[in-house]
Symmetry: C2
Amino acid sequence: MLIEFIARHSLPRRGILADPDEILLTMGAQNALWLTAQVLLTRRHTAAIEFPCYHGLREILKNSQCNLISVAVDKDGLPPSEMPKNADVIFSTPSHQSPTNATMPLGRRKDLLSLAGEIDALIVEDDYEFEISFLGSPLPSLKSLDEDGRVVYVGSFSKSIFPGLRLGYLVGPEPFIREARALRTSVLRHPPGHIQRTAAYFLSLGHYDSLIRKMGQAFAQRRKVMEEALSLHGLSVEGSGKFGGSSIWMRAPEDVDTAELDLSLRKKSVLIEPGKSFFGSNGPGSFYRLAYSSIPAERIPAGIKMLAEELQVGFENRMATP
Amino acid sequence: MLIEFIARHSLPRRGILADPDEILLTMGAQNALWLTAQVLLTRRHTAAIEFPCYHGLREILKNSQCNLISVAVDKDGLPPSEMPKNADVIFSTPSHQSPTNATMPLGRRKDLLSLAGEIDALIVEDDYEFEISFLGSPLPSLKSLDEDGRVVYVGSFSKSIFPGLRLGYLVGPEPFIREARALRTSVLRHPPGHIQRTAAYFLSLGHYDSLIRKMGQAFAQRRKVMEEALSLHGLSVEGSGKFGGSSIWMRAPEDVDTAELDLSLRKKSVLIEPGKSFFGSNGPGSFYRLAYSSIPAERIPAGIKMLAEELQVGFENRMATP
C-alpha cells in the first residue's frame, strides 16, 4: 500500500515515474543512504560528497572504507566543475543542501547530470525535505531529469511526518533495488508492517496533504519571525533556502566555538546545532544551524535574543583577555 | 522505558541481571544477530552454527565472509563434544533449537560454557521464544550461567507480541553494546521511538503477561490437537520441544521433496514450511515444519488430514512409476 502511494503520489510530484519494484522502503533516509553505500561502494571505489555535508552520510562512507573526496559547495550547492573525474558515486542534496540550505539551479542540475555521464558516475540524490517547500514550487528533481538511469533517489517521511517514524525510501533501477532489498532483509527484514500500513492510510486518506499545508503555514510564520529576530540582533545568516526548509545555516564570528556556545545556551534551554560535525574532523567551529520546525513562533524572539546576548558576552570576554 | 522494562522484568525471568548500558534495542532478533555478526566476526574468524539452523542466521554469516562450520545437533541440541576447537563465536538456540525444537539440558549448557572457556570462544545465545513455554518452566539461560562474560544474549518480542513489530534486543558486555549501538546508529539510527514507547506501556501495564498466559493456553490446546491428528494419521514427528514453542519439526519419508509437497498443499490452503533452507545448500528435502501459533485449533485436524492424504497420494504415485 505504501509503495503504491509513493509510486502514484509522492514521486510524480517530483517528476519521477517508478514501478513498485524500483522502490524500496527503508528505516528512514539514514538507512536508505547506508544500503546505497553498501551496494554501490567498495574500498576500490571513490565517493564524492558535498562539503559541508550531512554528518550521518560521512560516517556511513567512512565505514564503507571507500575513497572519499569532499567538494566544497557554493551558494548554488555542489559545483559540477569542481567534481573529481575519478568519482564513481556522487552524493548530493540539490533541493536543500544539507546544512547550507542552498538550492541547486536547474542549469547546474543539468550540468551535474551530463558530467556524471561523461565520467560514468552514479548520483545519489537525497531529497530529504522536498515537501517542506512553502516559499515556492521546488525545482525538478535530478532523478526526473535523468535519462540514462544514473540517479538513485532517496526520500523520507522524517521531515514531513516525524523523524521517530523511521520511514524512508529508495528509488532506483530494479537490479539495484533487488540487491538493496536482499541486504535490507539480512540486516533487519523490513520496516515494521503496521507502521507501513498506518502511514499508507494516513497518506491515502489525505491527512498527509493537509498536514503538509498546515506545516508549511506554521513553518513560514516561524521562519519569518526568526529572520526578523536575527536581523534585529544583527546575526549573520549564511544560508536560508529559497523554497523553505526547516532550518537556517548561521555563521558566528570566526573566533567563536559554537560547540561551547551550544553548551552555554543549553543551560538556558536554547538549543542550537553546532556546525562542526558537518565538516568532518577539521572543520571550522564557527558555523551553527538554527531549526524552526519544532518551536512555536512566539518562543523564537526570546531565544534569538539570548543567543545574541551569549555571543556578545563571549565577544566581551575575548576582548578582555589579554 | 522499554530498556528499563527489559532490564527489570524480562531478563530477570531468564536469570539475567543487566544494566541499561548492557542492553541494545534492535529491529527484531534478525537485526540483533546481524549486528552481533558484524561486531564479532571478520573473514579471519570462525563461526560455529547449529546444523540445521535458522536460515536467516546462515545468510548473515555467509555475507560476513567468516569461516563457517556447521555442527550437527542431536535430541539435546548442540553437542559441545563436536565443537571445532578453532571456533571464535558459537551461535546457539538452547531453549528451543531452531528448527528441531530440542531443548539443551542443564548439564550440556554447563559443558558448552566450560568448553567456550577452554577454547576462548564467545557464545551468541538466541533465546527467541522463551516466553512461549507453556509446558514447563524453561531452563536457566546460558547467559545466566555465564561467569566470565562470554555470552551475548538475543531476545525478541516477535514471537510473543507479533513479528511485524520488529523489536528485539541484545544483551552483552558494555563495550560490545557500545560498538553495536554505533553500528546500528549508522545503519538505521534506532527502532521507531513510538513503537518502543507503545511496547513499553503494553509491557509495563501488565497486558504482556496476560497475553503470554492466554497465548500459552491457546498454544497448548492447538499443539495437543495437532499432536493427536499427527498420531491419528501416523505422521512422523522429529522434534516437538519439551517446554512448548510454536511449531513441530517433522520428517516425511526420505523420497519426499517437501518443497513440492508445500506447493501442492498451498493450493488447498494448507501451509507447511519446507525444511531444506535450514540445512543450507545441500540439505535433505524430506523435513518440514508445522507451526500451530497462528491457526485456530478447530482448523488443525482437517489440515493434517489433507497433509496425510497428499503424502499418501505422493507415495502411491511413486510406487506406480516404474
